[in-house]
């Protein structure tokens, strides 16, 4: 081999080596990253294959595909999955193109050609929810922010982020957006949060019904972001005070929970980071120890406040009946039809001097309703009080010596025991219709107790009594769940709850 040929061969080999290492030189080893989870110790599956436990170092290889799926599992936490798309470095591709794609041919299967979007990635893990948690409605009536315009809220690529019009965090000045982010974070948890606007009839009604409403205060924010505005990464520390307000006493904070969380941005747009961080904090809120107990306590107090002042009445003299066969025929005398301008419902007399229990949705907002007795005559009744939370109403007619129902023991009712419903279904002329069923269950819905029964409850039956085998009233027929394929799903308020929530006290 001549010296010239050797020189040519050496030059060709040197060029090939340069081309082959081009991607590695330009990319600088960005195909590895540290994967962690919050909390650590999660098992990581890469494209379905177990890879290790967090924190771990992940090295990308083209075998893992154009999109790498990381799934993290941890005992007691919901599994989380993240998809990461490695990209080819622009400088490497430029060098490829300028060198007629020869480096691309050489190293297209080399990890060095690819770069992962971040070197450090932390996955936020959330606790699994227990199925038996009582669920509470929680209106979010706004988010307050203690962060002033112009103040520094972190850094982006080392440059300070100031809260102004151009800031990626300008969402901080939009309370509605923050409230929506909180609602998003709480979605699916035992706190059924919904953004509610106070001052509207629907909003006020929703807040009243829930008894408690949430108005968190954002105290501080500290973000350390890297990447681009369209894809940024890094921790965002959020300090919040979760303030729970009483719906009945609007200005009073029932209790508050201070919370500091760290959200790890995972490639979202910079303008979305603040919303994601708020949602993350909200997702962690239901995990706060003692919150469920405090919610229960204050919700109960709220309910108690809605029962109004005490009403005393003489214990009724029970309607006499000789045998079980005669029982229902005797008891219908104490069941009435409640007529209003909008329609009719049912009710039953609980004292000989004219106190009648019915449903709130039967009387609506009317102050005086018409009562049609089984004996055929009609009286005016004054609506003394209503309890919207439990759908109860207490009426009073000016009369004495009326037949009244004896109060039974709803708590002692056993499953399968016979229950009779008496009422005026569909048409006012069908007054004192009787139907029979059994007790299907004692239920708790939205923090309220109900008797579930398969007895026929039809429109017009509402407010009528549910009577046990001994002829005593054990509940107030309130609602039925109807739909295609559904049958025999009726609900009544237990009589003990009805008396308590109307604040009725019997005197001997």
């Amino acid at each position: 081999m001549t010296a010239t040929k050797r020189l040519h061969l050496f030059s060709a080999l040197a060029c090939l080596g340069l081309f082959a290492s081009c991607a590695s030189i330009l990319n600088g080893g960005k195909q590895t990253m540290t994967l962690d989870s919050q909390p650590s110790g999660s098992t990581v599956y890469v494209n379905g294959t177990e890879y290790g436990t967090t924190p771990l170092n992940y090295s990308y290889t083209p075998v893992d595909g154009d999109e790498v799926l990381f799934e993290l599992r941890n005992q007691g936490y919901q599994s989380a999955s993240v998809t990461m798309r490695p990209k080819r470095n622009g400088a490497v591709l430029f060098a490829d193109a300028m060198l007629l794609h020869i480096p691309y041919l050489v190293d297209r299967n080399s990890p060095a050609l690819y770069s992962l979007p971040t070197k450090q990635y932390t996955v936020n893990m959330y606790r699994e929810q227990t199925a038996e948690m009582v669920r509470y409605m929680l209106p979010i009536t706004g988010v307050e922010s203690a962060i002033l315009r112009g103040s520094k809220v972190g850094t982006f690529q080392g440059a300070p982020i100031k809260l102004d019009k151009e800031s990626p965090f300008r969402e901080l000045e939009q309370p509605d957006m923050l409230a929506s982010a909180v609602a998003t974070g709480l979605r699916g948890s035992w706190l059924e949060a919904r953004v509610t606007r106070m001052g509207t009839s629907k909003g006020d009604e929703s807040v009243q019904k829930a008894k408690i409403h949430l108005k968190p205060k954002l105290r501080s924010l500290r973000a350390t972001l890297t990447g681009e505005r369209s894809h940024c990464y890094g921790p965002v520390e959020v300090e919040l005070e979760w303030r729970f307000y009483s719906s009945l006493r609007m200005d009073s904070v029932l209790f508050s929970i201070p919370q500091t969380t760290t959200y790890h941005a995972s490639g979202e747009r910079a303008s979305d980071v603040i919303g994601s961080a708020m949602a993350h904090s909200a997702r962690l809120l239901p995990e706060e120890s003692g919150l469920a107990e405090r919610m229960s306590e204050h919700y109960g107090s709220g309910l108690a406040l809605s029962k109004g002042g005490e009403v005393s009445m003489a214990k009724p003299t029970p309607i006499p009946f000789a045998s079980r066969k005669e029982m229902i025929s005797a008891l219908v005398k104490a069941v009435v039809t409640v007529q209003t301008e909008k329609g009719h419902g049912s009710g039953f007399i609980v004292s000989n001097d004219g106190y009648i229990i019915s449903n709130e949705h039967v009387v609506g907002k009317e102050a005086v309703v018409r009562i049609k007795m089984q004996q055929g005559f009609t009286l005016d009744a004054q609506v003394l009080k209503t309890n919207k939370d439990f759908d109860l109403a207490l009426l009073k007619v000016q009369a004495t010596d009326l037949p009244a129902l004896a109060i039974g023991d709803d708590k002692g009712l056993l499953l399968g025991e016979e229950i009779f419903a008496i009422g005026t279904p569909l048409d006012a002329n069908l007054g004192q219709s009787v139907s029979r069923g059994i007790l299907s269950g004692h239920r708790e819905l939205d923090g309220r107790s109900y008797l579930q029964t398969d007895v026929s409850i039809n429109p017009g039956n509402s407010g009528g009594p549910l009577i046990d085998e001994n002829g005593k009233v054990v509940g107030v027929a309130t609602m039925k769940i109807s739909g295609e394929g559904l049958e025999g799903l009726g609900f009544g308020v237990p009589i003990s709850v009805a008396l308590q929530m109307l604040n009725i006290v019997f005197t001997p």
Partner: protein, 214 residues
């Protein structure tokens, strides 16, 4: 040998690129002067985008003369004591590999920069007439019709603007570079040729092409 090398290179590229679009392109508006004469060429090519920022292509280029002329006539020149006038006809065929990087990075469309490399097989048929007005002299033996085949290797940079290869696409481009081997090729040409008919050391390409992608 060179065509086989180019074909192997193309097969390698095709086998390596999996997720990408393909397209075919054609034009009669590829301007490229191998010599100083008219430079309109046919171009028929294949495009391929192996990544979301880069593209490669292979073009077949052949000289045409749209105005029906078969040969150019030279200006009078002096050689060996004679006045020489000659007709020159050119035949050019070649392959060119293109490699492109899209500067805008939006789905393989927009402004790009790239490189090209290839070869041109150029045949020049020269038919001279000689005149000597001072003495009566025999026609010299160099003054006869000759056909010379040469090979040059154009290499250079390209800039252009291409649309996305989504069904119909278009590409407008400019390129400049060197024709490697032009010096040694010129040494084999008839010595009386004027500079205009010699192979150029530098060349430019300008063109507009339409294609269909899938």
């Amino acid at each position: 040998m060179k065509i086989r090398t180019a074909f192997v290179l193309l097969v390698c590229l095709i086998s390596n690129a999996v997720h990408a679009q393909w397209g075919v392109r054609a034009t009669t508006l590829h301007f490229e002067q191998q010599t100083g004469r008219s430079g309109l060429n046919w171009l028929l090519g294949l495009d391929h985008d192996p990544t979301d920022r880069t593209s490669i292509g292979l073009d077949f280029i052949s000289h045409i003369n749209l105005f029906g002329e078969t040969a150019d006539r030279s200006e009078p020149t002096e050689y060996g004591g004679y006045e020489v006038l000659y007709n020159v006809a050119r035949s050019v065929k070649g392959l060119q590999f293109r490699s492109t990087y899209f500067l805008s990075g939006h789905g393989n469309a927009g402004f790009y920069m790239g490189t090209y490399a290839g070869f041109r097989s150029i045949a020049l048929q020269v038919d001279p007439n000689v005149y000597n007005t001072s003495t009566v002299a025999p026609v010299p033996n160099w003054a006869r019709r000759t056909t010379t085949s040469s090979m040059v290797f154009p290499v250079g940079l390209r800039w252009g603007l291409r649309s996305e290869m989504d069904e119909w696409y278009q590409d407008i481009y400019f390129a400049m570079g060197v024709q490697l081997g032009s010096g040694s090729a010129n040494a084999t040409l008839p010595p009386f040729l004027i500079a205009k008919d010699e192979l150029k050391a530098f060349s430019i390409q300008v063109g507009y092409v339409l294609g269909f992608g899938w």
